[in-house]
């Protein structure tokens, strides 16, 4: 499976993702510069964390209109997979590839900590190796991770099972205390109805080797391996 890791000016998790895909997942991967529009040879494009274009105006706003993100529209329509983590999630929302928006943490603090996530949707290429209700531990690192959307969109997300991860306690209970940023309904990650575009605030690439302190991120990323079938589509379970 061929991966691309997008690099904007100000991206900081690009090397981490590149390392994990290449050295831990052992898959072919290349960097994709933010001015590129040619993505056709890739199966999965990763938008890593960071502060693209300085996050000026709003987090992910400028990157959301960049050439590579414009090209993602066609890439997604053609069935390609896109994973946005942290700033990547903010960019996908700003670009309209996912519903909602990420805004300033309710606590006003930048939160860099370990977080527990309960898995709500395992019918995506990104989560097919996980169990419903499974609790994963991954780091978060953001100042603007409060997920917000209007009530009608929230109802649609629930009805179509598009919420993939929610912040939880270590035992999987969804509590206000386990919500690090004030996200609506403790939402930490959402997917498009086709299951091909996943946005999440946590960092799976920073929990992909024992030396990093945990491997739950790898557990998630491993779902992707073997999901690509011969006709170029992806298994969801």
């Amino acid at each position: 499976m061929r991966f691309g890791v997008v690099v904007f000016p100000g991206t900081w998790s690009d090397c981490d993702f590149h390392y994990v895909v290449s050295e831990v997942l052992h898959q072919p991967v290349r960097y994709v510069w933010h001015r590129e529009r040619e993505l056709r040879e890739l199966d999965c494009v990763i938008l890593p964390g960071g502060f693209s274009y300085g996050d000026y105006l709003r987090a992910g706003a400028v990157a959301g209109r960049s050439p590579v993100v414009e090209a993602l529209g066609d890439f997604v329509a053609g069935g390609g997979l896109v994973l946005g983590s942290c700033n990547g999630f903010q960019i996908l929302c700003e670009a309209g590839l996912l519903p909602g928006v990420l805004t300033r943490n309710e606590c006003l603090q930048y939160r860099c900590q370990s977080s527990h996530l309960v898995v709500e949707n395992v019918d995506t290429p990104f989560t097919r190796g996980l169990r419903p209700g499974q609790v994963l531990t991954m780091p978060i690192s953001h100042g603007e991770g409060k997920y917000y959307t209007d009530p009608a969109t929230l109802a649609r997300l629930k009805q179509q099972n598009l919420i993939v991860f929610r912040y939880a306690e270590a035992d999987g209970r969804i509590t206000k205390k386990s919500n690090p940023n004030g996200s609506l309904d403790n939402i930490a990650g959402v997917v498009n109805p086709e299951g091909t575009v996943l946005g999440m605030m946590p960092h799976p690439e920073r929990a992909s080797e024992a030396a990093m302190g945990g491997t739950d991120g790898l557990l998630m990323l491993q779902s992707l391996l073997g999901s690509l079938v011969e006709d170029g589509s992806f298994l969801k379970r």
Partner: protein, 89 residues
């Protein structure tokens, strides 16, 4: 033509920045404060001959980039509006 865009959080959207600034002002003794919300000002100088044309283009800029419609409302003033308001004072 010059235009000024005011971007504000929609009513009902929690403004954590505004709340922090309000608390700081209360700490300075401004106890009369009822509410405070923080927005953004974007001043634009553009090549459009009329205020109407400028407003239309700047509106397009707001829809495409300057405001996020899920969270924010915006108003556009052109230099004429600004000048008129100044004259009325």
């Amino acid at each position: 033509m010059r235009a000024r865009v005011l971007v504000r959080l929609k009513p009902g959207i929690m403004d954590v920045q505004g709340a922090a600034v309000k608390r700081a002002l209360a700490g300075l003794g401004f106890s009369e404060l009822n509410d405070l919300r923080v927005g953004k000002v974007i001043d634009i100088d553009l090549n459009e001959p009329t205020p109407e044309a400028a407003r239309a283009r700047v509106g397009e800029m707001c829809r495409q980039l300057l405001a996020n419609p899920i969270l924010e409302d915006y108003t556009i003033e052109t230099v004429d509006d600004l000048a008129q308001r100044g004259a009325a004072r």
